[in-house]
């Protein structure tokens, strides 16, 4: 008797640039788990489906998974639109849903948070919410301003498309920025697609913004970085988890140099951590030679899969691998890391009333020196692209921030 598990990934759609590595991480991890004893001896029957980032297709697929005898025990999901659309359904069908959408309101399982969003009892994600990531960067920025000896109030600006994903942390960020003594400039919009964003950069420059949050995915963020470099806007950019990574740094070249962004894992590929051994093993699932470089999303995907797996382990011991049991499994330990991934996954805690897994956010800086032709592997090896950890920021689970 296998445990059916669904895995929605975007391999071919609009967010495939991050969807591919993340999905690969999840898929490899699940395959690895199956090869190494499965969930307490039972293997999972994983169906990985590329839904091309199209919500209707995700919904049909979900219906397939959630009905009949082969009803899945849990799902590894992906984007904002589909996660939001499925939130109600997974709650009703009691299927834990681990997604790549880190909107703050998904961290409120009861819907009783001060910002009164709809309850999301079965939604989980591994990583800081978009809001918490931004909070961490703002806290860092406040410090940074002091150390750099900036005079007066630093100016902060939120940038991104007028869409759920970039907007999710907007208010939370602006609120905190005010509290931290930033001068909050009016938000600047730019579309989710690459284009010419010189205009935006010129206004940034003119307004004298010091810190800017880039809320979009990599493609359009790159355009902004490049345009700002061209017009010579001196701004410290802060990316989001999906907005900056090794590939984006390569594409943006020197324009990406110095961008700060949250990384979900405690160590990145090639890093020095006890859990890295397993990560390397997992990577061999899809790369037998073991030579490929794995970007940050891949490693995060592994963690996402492993948290689910451990919760399943618990469920198996405690009444069977059902949705509600897996959910309970998530609540069993505090500040835990899946066995074997020590030093890779950040210790996290979920409770019945609070799905903010992480309260520490690792911030990295992209260092790009020189020409970025060639593959990411080479570039990282050569040190042309370097992701450098600059801080770990505590983002306390303040009750007033729950679900926000």
């Amino acid at each position: 008797q296998k445990i059916p598990v669904g895995h929605l990934a975007d391999q071919s759609g609009a967010t495939s640039d991050v969807g591919v590595p993340f999905g690969q991480g999840v898929a490899d991890a699940l395959a690895y788990i199956n090869k190494n004893g499965g969930v307490a001896g039972t293997t999972m029957d994983v169906e990985t489906v590329d839904y091309g980032y199209q919500a209707p297709r995700a919904i049909s697929q979900y219906k397939k998974w959630s009905s009949g005898s082969g009803k899945v025990a849990a799902i590894q999901g992906w984007g904002t639109a589909d996660t939001e659309a499925l939130t109600g359904f997974v709650g009703k069908d009691e299927i834990p849903y681990y997604s790549g959408s880190y909107s703050g309101h998904l961290t409120d399982p009861t819907g009783n948070g001060p910002h009164g969003s709809k309850p999301a009892p079965y939604n989980f994600f591994y990583g800081p919410s978009y809001s918490d990531g931004l909070r961490a960067m703002l806290m860092w920025a406040a410090e940074d301003w002091k150390t750099k000896g900036g005079s007066g109030k630093p100016k902060y600006v939120h940038m991104g498309a007028n869409h759920p994903y970039p907007n999710a942390p907007k208010e939370a960020g602006e609120q905190l920025a005010k509290e931290l003594g930033f001068d909050v400039l009016p938000a600047v919009q730019f579309a989710l697609t690459p284009g010419d964003y010189t205009a935006q950069c010129l206004t940034l420059k003119q307004a004298g913004a010091n810190y800017a949050y880039l809320g979009n995915t990599a493609g359009s963020n790159i355009s902004v970085l490049k345009a700002c470099q061209t017009v010579g806007a001196q701004v410290q950019f802060m990316g989001n988890v999906w907005g900056m990574d090794e590939n984006a740094a390569k594409a943006a070249g020197s324009a990406a140099n110095g961008v700060i962004f949250p990384v979900r894992t405690a160590a990145i590929w090639g890093g020095d951590a006890p859990g890295m051994k397993i990560v390397k093993e997992i990577s061999k699932v899809s790369d037998a030679a073991g030579t490929a470089y794995r970007p940050v999303h891949y490693v995060s995907g592994i963690c996402s899969a492993f948290y689910m797996k451990e919760a399943m382990d618990w469920a198996k011991q405690n009444g069977g691998v059902t949705g509600p049991n897996i959910r309970k499994g998530m609540y069993q330990k505090k500040d835990w890391v899946p066995a074997g991934l020590e030093g890779v996954c950040v210790p996290s805690t979920w409770t019945e009333t609070d799905h903010r897994g992480m309260d520490k956010v690792n911030l990295y800086r992209a260092n790009v020196t020189g020409d970025t032709g060639g593959s990411v592997d080479e570039l990282v090896k050569a040190g042309t692209i370097k992701l450098e950890k600059i801080a770990t920021v505590d983002v306390p689970r303040k009750p007033e921030w729950l679900g926000w």
Partner: protein, 357 residues
């Protein structure tokens, strides 16, 4: 295109009434009734996956019919239909959330609200033609999308809004099995209404405007009125479809109503057959099922010898997308007039069998 209207031998009409029915023959009418009756049984033997697909085909089919009335029957291309669809979804959610209007009532009201918005954006139709109008509707698409993400009071802003499940007399239709019936009723009613519209005065006027607006005007048809009205009717259908969508998913977010979705709507009616009522439904089914079929093929393929031999892996996702594009292209190369046309030819063939000429 030539309209092949063939009636079986011996099937003579003795009254004009008999000549204006929806179904040309008794048999076809009985088949239609039988079909609906069979559909009623669907929830008993279909699983949620299939029901979900049927429901999708249902609400999208209603909206697609609206677009077909605009594009196929009146000849005004719109590439902003998804925005109207979205407007209907938000309206219905808003009506039931903010005013406690029962969902059953909110859906038609949302249709009416969308009609109003559709007419507003249809104003340029009085002056613009062809692609110029199409791009004006593209503007509507972007303007409405922008409005959705701003209007917190209405749409919940970019965070989106929840929508109550459909309920009637205290019974909530919140499962696929039950919601299927809601959609089915709407589809049947909306399709019958459209069929009636097209065989009465204003429907004919719309088609006349499409075929030759100059002579239509001289035949006494007020162009401005009918062009705008067409937008209104089309939006009404979009609104109803959108409202059903909202209460099915019980959540509405601005993300869903993009230009790509609008283009998909166009795809549905073109593949189904412009200016064909049933074609709208067939085209919708095609566009909804195509990715699913491709997915099924992909799933069946992965892990097999072929997969291993060609080392497809991730490539399979792209191959599937390419296949979707290719099927659309091939379909149109072989059937440029859409499914409805092919359907007619099949019917004609059987009626004339074995004399196909």
């Amino acid at each position: 295109m030539a309209n092949i209207s063939l009636i079986p031998c011996g099937d003579f009409k003795t009254r004009y009434a008999a000549d204006t029915t929806i179904f040309p023959t008794k048999t076809s009418r009985n088949f239609a009734i039988l079909g609906v009756a069979l559909l009623l049984l669907c929830p008993a033997f279909m699983d949620r996956y299939w029901l979900n697909l049927c429901i999708q085909i249902g609400y999208l089919g209603i909206a697609a019919l609206g677009l077909n009335i605009l594009v196929g029957f009146t000849g005004q291309i719109s590439i902003g239909h998804a925005a109207f669809f979205g407007f209907g979804a938000f309206s219905s959610a808003w009506l039931s959330n903010s005013f406690g209007i029962p969902v059953a009532l909110a859906i038609p009201l949302a249709g009416v609200m969308t009609t109003a918005v559709g007419m507003l954006f249809g104003i340029p139709a009085a002056r613009l033609k062809g692609l110029y109008l199409a791009i004006a509707t593209l503007a509507a698409q972007y303007i409405l999308q922008d409005f959705f993400s701003r209007a917190d009071w209405f749409t919940g802003g970019t965070a989106g809004t929840i929508a109550e499940p459909f309920s009637l007399f205290g019974y909530a239709f919140d499962t696929d099995e039950s919601f299927f019936y809601v959609v089915l009723v709407y589809v049947v009613v909306m399709y019958i209404l459209a069929t009636n519209l097209m065989r009465s005065r204003d429907g004919r006027a719309l088609v006349a405007v499409r075929d030759h607006y100059l002579s239509a005007e001289i035949m006494g048809i007020n162009l401005t009125k009918y062009r705008t009205m067409s937008f209104g009717i089309s939006s009404f259908y979009a609104g109803i479809g959108g409202a059903l969508y909202a209460h099915y998913l019980q959540f509405v977010s601005v993300e869903g109503f993009t230009i790509l979705f609008s283009i998909q709507f166009l795809g549905m009616i073109i593949i189904g057959g412009l200016g064909s009522i049933m074609g709208s439904l067939m085209g919708t089914a095609f566009m909804v099922l195509l990715p699913e079929v491709m997915q099924a093929i992909t799933t069946a393929l992965s892990g097999t010898a072929i997969d291993a031999a060609l080392n497809l892996r991730e490539a399979i996702a792209f191959l599937r997308e390419m296949a979707i594009g290719l099927v659309i292209i091939l379909f149109l190369v072989f059937e440029p007039d859409g499914l409805a046309h092919r359907w007619k030819q099949i019917k004609a063939y059987w009626k004339l069998y074995p004399f196909s000429h």
